[in-house]
């Protein structure tokens, strides 16, 4: 593939990501917003691929599409009167909003132009990223890894406890 093809595919994915993200914000229908998130997450995963982070790209799909988006959709679908709720997408604070947006854009452009190119890391990765991630998780980042696993285990136990059938009161909470 030549550079032009890669650039075209990149801009297609970038457009998908940005447009669907805009749709999430501006849509007046919660369901449409939730489904539009699918394209945002997918586009972001594709952008990760362009950064040679294929493992993170797949993890993005697994965690955000498979986990969070499905949970979100379930939540939205099981809410009563979801279709009749009027979403407020009016612009309320025009002046502070524009100020904040301008500041953000100026800050990002400033960083972009002063940094010049995207900073390459001190260590260039060669070969399989998966092996490096595994080795680093099991050696240098052992403590954070274990702490995250304990937090997740506690969350899982808590969820199971909350969802449990209460025998004493004969009802489900």
């Amino acid at each position: 593939m030549n550079q032009l093809t890669i650039a075209i595919i990149f801009y297609i994915f970038a457009a998908v990501t940005v447009l669907s993200a805009a749709f999430v914000v501006f849509s007046k229908n919660v369901i449409y917003s939730a489904f539009s998130l699918l394209f945002t997450f997918f586009g972001v995963a594709a952008l990760y691929v362009f950064l040679s982070a294929d493992f993170i790209a797949v993890t993005q799909v697994v965690v955000y599409v498979g986990g969070i988006l499905v949970l979100l959709l379930f939540g939205v679908m099981f809410t009563n009167t979801i279709m009749s709720t009027e979403l407020k997408a009016d612009v309320l604070n025009v002046v502070p909003g524009i100020l904040l947006t301008l500041l953000l854009i100026v800050g990002m452009l400033f960083t972009f132009y002063t940094t010049g190119n995207w900073m390459p890391g001190p260590v260039q990765l060669n070969g399989s990223v998966v092996e490096s991630i595994g080795l680093e998780t099991m050696s240098r980042y052992m403590l954070p890894f274990e702490m995250v696993s304990i937090v997740l285990l506690v969350a899982l136990l808590g969820a199971a406890y909350l969802a449990r059938y209460d025998k004493a009161n004969k009802k489900e909470h």
């Binding site: 030549n2 369901i31 699918l38 797949v58 498979g66 499905v70 379930f74 998966v130």
Partner: protein, 359 residues
């Protein structure tokens, strides 16, 4: 990304081909699995399933159109093409239309990493297996879009059941596949297959080289039935309670697309289980002394033949189970997933780890 010079030669040559800036070769690489799904779904999927189910119930199945009803599928397609494309008035038009598309894309995306023989693979990712497991998530969102878009109680129930089932059974399925990845030491589909290639044929497959591999193999097979909504886990489309589940409202070509997606994911899980435990495109025949059966039946074309045959074998088992086992209840389904398959998959994970370390 290929390690040996002969690996992926066909697909690499194809993907290098482009007209100007337009990567025609890449489009062709992507189109080949698509044509394959369509052809296999029409022949083996529809006609084969009808015949197999008929023979299992001591019937003859379709006999009228052509010799032994062999043109029945063609007649079915003509009928589907002619049908009116109905969109219910109260349905959510947008979701109703794009739902089958998302569903099909979700099942088709995994074909990018399935190796059709040593010379052909869509993309030899070094996270191939992880990608194939994870991309099913898009299918789940597609099912929700179909179910919600139909604006029908049965469709919504079917969709919610189906997604709950897919999300739950992803866990034992992933852990079982992790065992295979641990045995291979890699996540790349081609590398996993290469680890199981050798002159001994089937004797090099993970299922037969390892004393514990049958456990994750069995767990993945059961979970894959649930992930593709096949019997005995077909509660999302239980005819007796939900009419047809999440695609109740669909007709004509949209129904055909949903059907293709289902057949696509059936082949996908069958190919994944073949690659992870049964050597993918490697030949099952061993070299016996001077009779070099394995060498004779290896190569790009034979590889494609073996992987497709292995996939078809597991699809046959899926059909076989469909016509022999009764459907599970929802609570039995969840019990099986969380209290049987998940603990056993964890046990098999630990045992496989011990075996890998000490071997």
């Amino acid at each position: 990304m290929s390690s040996s010079p002969s690996l992926n030669t066909w697909s690499d040559a194809l993907s290098g081909f482009s007209i100007g800036w337009f990567p025609l070769g890449l489009v062709i690489v992507a189109a080949i699995p698509l044509v394959f799904i369509a052809l296999y779904a029409l022949t083996y999927g529809v006609y084969g399933e009808r015949k197999i189910s008929a023979f299992m119930q001591d019937r003859l199945g379709p006999m009228e159109v052509g010799f032994w009803g062999i043109l029945q599928t063609l007649a079915d397609i003509l009928k589907l093409l002619q049908k009116e494309d109905i969109v219910p008035t109260v349905a959510d038009k947008f979701l109703f239309v794009i739902g089958p598309g998302i569903l099909f894309v979700g099942s088709f995306l995994a074909f990018a990493v399935l190796p059709f023989g040593p010379a052909f693979i869509g993309a030899d990712l070094n996270v191939g297996l992880f990608y194939a497991v994870g991309i099913v998530a898009i299918e789940a969102v597609g099912i929700l879009a179909v179910g919600w878009g139909s604006n029908n109680k049965w469709a919504l129930y079917g969709a919610v059941r189906s997604v709950a089932q897919i999300v739950s059974y992803e866990i034992p399925a992933s852990i079982a596949l992790l065992c295979a990845a641990m045995l291979a030491g890699t996540l790349s589909m081609q590398q996993i297959t290469m680890m199981q290639a050798g002159p001994g044929g089937f004797m090099h497959w993970f299922l037969f080289t390892n004393p514990i591999a049958w456990l994750p193999f069995l767990i993945y097979f059961i979970s894959s039935l649930a992930e593709t909504n096949r019997a005995p886990f077909d509660i999302p489309e239980a005819e007796s309670e939900l009419v047809a589940g999440y695609f109740t409202e669909y007709s004509g070509m949209k129904f055909a697309v949903i059907f293709l997606a289902e057949y696509g994911s059936m082949f996908m899980v069958s190919a994944i289980i073949s690659i992870a435990f049964l050597g993918g495109w490697t030949s099952p025949l061993p070299n016996i002394g001077g009779l070099e059966l394995n060498t004779m039946t290896s190569g790009p074309v034979w590889g494609a033949f073996w992987i497709i045959m292995k996939g078809f074998f597991f699809i046959f088992v899926q059909m076989w189970l469909r016509w022999t086992l009764p459907r599970l209840r929802v609570d039995q389904l969840m019990y099986l997933c969380w209290k049987v398959l998940t603990p056993f998959s964890l046990v098999s994970f630990v045992l496989t780890a011990i075996w890998v370390i000490n071997h």
